[in-house]
């Protein structure tokens, strides 16, 4: 019997164990070299974008990569383990320098990376904004973990993005504001800090989760309860909607140290500080519907006034939220996205139909939506092989994913 008790104790001990993940934050540009460089003008940035062959560094990146500027960084997307690089850059004389990090999206492998574009291999043309430049070559190196950048990376311009890609309005939507806590991106899901870096992963839009505090303030948070998956240890515990906004703001800290953002703060940040064009506002509880509608209407109107290409859609994931939305006066004029049936999409005249990806590409249903002037997104597609198939064989107008870097690669590499 003693041994049985010991066995049970061991079992409890094992059950209490967690999977530990090694997180490395590579030290980027410790000498602050880039401060000596001049930022590239926007006309130069477009010249750099395209599909590149990997001449050296195939172990890290595979054979081809996509080079794409986002709001404030140069991103490189590969088809190898969802690998990507995020680089800051500038030019000195006629040489262009980039310093940043690489990372595999599906695990936590990372390291530093740096490049330069020699003056005679595209540097001069890029700085001048010469769009006919086709001999661009990135020469650089990368390190693994906290190691020095001692492995060679060379990229050579292969082609511009295809006309189909350039004309496409395909949306790459990042889950939870840009990524989940389980992706170990260094910032917390559904935080302003996460939204701030979402574009670096290729996102053109984000999905965020809204709940309502006890005193009626909508805020960003996914789960129904306060838990250690999303928050640091705190003095408050239980259902998150049982607390006032002041309590949540002062007593709760997100997993990576951020303050929990209100929905207003998040949407204003998207409007004023990013170039994101779509927000999928996922309403997690029926109570938050009316407050969300008021806020998204205000921000959408401000976006129009500013001439900003931004549209915020009210996400309707469940029947109770659908019922609340359908009962809202004038709901047909509110941008909305329905995850339910296409009949329900029609019933509330939603702008977007958004089925779960596990139902398949459903091309005939998507075509019906297009014929009615609606869009179709699918969620939440992370499987690399299916991402490739959905992009090549599906007709969705956007994909919600935890791996926007992988979606970006397969989208931009299309012929």
């Amino acid at each position: 019997m003693k041994k049985t008790i010991i066995l049970f104790a061991s079992l409890l001990l094992i059950y209490s164990c967690d999977n530990e993940v090694d997180i490395i934050s590579p030290v980027i540009d410790p000498s602050n070299f880039l401060a000596q460089t001049t930022p590239l003008p926007n006309s130069s940035k477009l010249v750099i974008e395209g599909v590149y062959d990997v001449l050296d560094g195939k172990d890290l990146l595979g054979d081809q990569v996509v080079v794409k500027w986002n709001r404030d960084r140069l991103s490189i997307f590969s088809g190898n383990n969802g690998g990507y690089l995020v680089l800051d850059g500038g030019y000195l004389d006629s040489v262009i320098f980039f310093i940043g990090y690489w990372r595999y999206a599906t695990n936590t492998e990372t390291g530093v990376a740096s490049f330069y574009i020699p003056s005679d291999e595209g540097g001069v043309e890029i700085i001048l904004g010469d769009t006919t430049a086709t001999t661009i070559r990135f020469v650089g190196d990368y390190g693994v973990g906290n190691g020095l950048a001692d492995r060679t990376l060379v990229l050579k311009f292969n082609r511009d993005f295809s006309q189909a890609v350039k004309q496409s309005e395909f949306d790459i939507l990042a889950h939870r504001g840009g990524g989940r806590n389980s992706d170990y991106l260094g910032v917390s899901e559904n935080s302003i800090e996460m939204i701030n870096i979402a574009e670096r992963f290729g996102s053109t839009g984000i999905e965020i989760d809204a709940r309502l505090s006890k005193d009626g303030v909508p805020f960003l948070y996914h789960d129904s309860d306060i838990n250690l998956r999303l928050c640091q240890k705190s003095l408050i515990w239980g259902q998150i909607e049982d607390f006032t906004w002041a309590q949540l703001r002062t007593l709760l800290t997100l997993r990576n140290g951020e303050k929990i953002p209100s929905l207003r703060e998040a949407l204003e940040f998207v409007l004023e500080e990013t170039l994101l064009s779509v927000v999928w506002l996922d309403t997690k509880d029926v109570d938050v519907v009316n407050a969300s509608i008021a806020l998204l209407t205000e921000i959408n109107d401000r976006a129009i006034t500013m001439g900003r290409d931004l549209k915020i859609y009210l996400g309707i994931p469940a029947q109770d939220i659908f019922d609340a939305f359908a009962a809202y006066p004038g709901h047909q004029q509110i941008p909305s996205l329905v995850e339910l049936t296409i009949d329900q999409v029609r019933q509330v005249d939603a702008d977007i139909w958004a089925p779960r990806w596990t139902q398949g590409t459903q091309n005939s249903e998507v075509q019906q939506m297009h014929a009615e002037g609606r869009l179709a997104f699918c969620w939440t597609l992370d499987e690399t092989s299916y991402i490739e198939e959905f992009i090549n064989e599906g007709e969705f107008d956007g994909i919600l994913t935890n791996y926007p870097t992988i979606v970006s690669y397969y989208h931009y590499i299309q012929q």
Binding site: K3, T4, L7, F8, S10, L11, I14, Y15, C17, D18, N19, V21, N81, Y104, T106, N107, T108, R180, S182, D223, N227, L228, R229, P355, R356, W357, T358, Q359, G360, T361, Q362, D382, E383, T384, S385, Y386, E389, F390, E393, N402, Y403
Partner: protein, 239 residues
């Protein structure tokens, strides 16, 4: 004290007494399933069990202990020359896992050893809750076992390597051949077997799995390229 509680206490006492009463007449070779003893040719021992697992927080997105029940039925059939054939089925209702394979046992006084391999075919299918997906796969499990026979119970250790041979998923009209790593990981389990009453043996086991892809969790479509520690607890009856 309620009548129900009294009855439970009484039954528990009866079980414990029976345990001691028959402790002197134990015949592990007729009743132990996990302890790697010799089998007579044609001898059959089965084990019907229920296991639970703590799934990785990163995949299931909850920090609570999440239990994933898995029902299992396993059978061993004695063959000549210390060989035996083992087969089994595991299911969590949306997933079925069928396995079979040979083993060779060696028994020396109170020690028992076994070496073998199982090949498994598994499939999962879900056509509700927004799913229209199927997943099938083949897995190879080379394994080693060692056990020690105490006076009143046996304690056995079993370790196996998990190798993904093939897997395919179907999503709506799309069929994809996935590319899971061939080497998926390994497991190690400890199993205690003892009689509950007469020749009715129970098994309490804990198994640590270190796997990238945990097949009962296929519907989560985990895309992490990381090895997860997934502890399992097993309770089963031998007969």
């Amino acid at each position: 004290m309620s009548k129900k509680l009294l009855l439970k206490t009484f039954l528990l006492q009866v079980f414990i007494l029976c345990n001691f009463a028959f402790a002197q007449q134990l015949n592990f070779n007729e009743n132990a399933f996990f302890y790697p003893h010799s089998f007579r040719s044609g001898q059959i021992i089965s084990s019907l069990g229920l296991s639970t697992a703590k799934l990785p927080e990163d995949v299931v997105e909850t920090d609570d202990v999440f239990r994933a029940p898995l029902f299992s039925y396993k059978l061993k059939y004695g063959l000549p020359e210390n060989f035996l054939a083992e087969g089994g089925v595991e299911t969590n209702l949306i997933t079925f896992h069928f396995s079979a394979g040979p083993k060779w046992n060696y028994e020396d006084d109170k020690w028992g050893f076994s070496v073998g391999g199982d090949i498994a075919y598994w499939f999962g299918q879900l056509e509700q809750f927004g799913f229209d997906t199927k997943f099938t796969g083949w897995i190879l499990y080379p394994n080693l076992s060692a056990g020690y026979r105490f006076n009143k119970f046996t304690l056995s250790l079993k370790s196996e390597v998990v190798l993904n041979l093939a897997e395919t998923s179907t999503n709506g009209e799309l069929e994809i051949s996935n590319d899971l790593d061939f080497y998926n990981g390994w497991t190690i389990g400890v199993y205690l077997e003892q009689p509950l009453w007469k020749d009715n043996y129970v098994v309490i086991g804990i198994r640590s799995t270190f796997l990238k892809f945990y097949y009962p969790m296929w519907a989560a479509f985990s895309t992490f390229d990381r090895t997860f520690f997934i502890p399992e607890a097993l309770f089963s009856f031998n007969f």
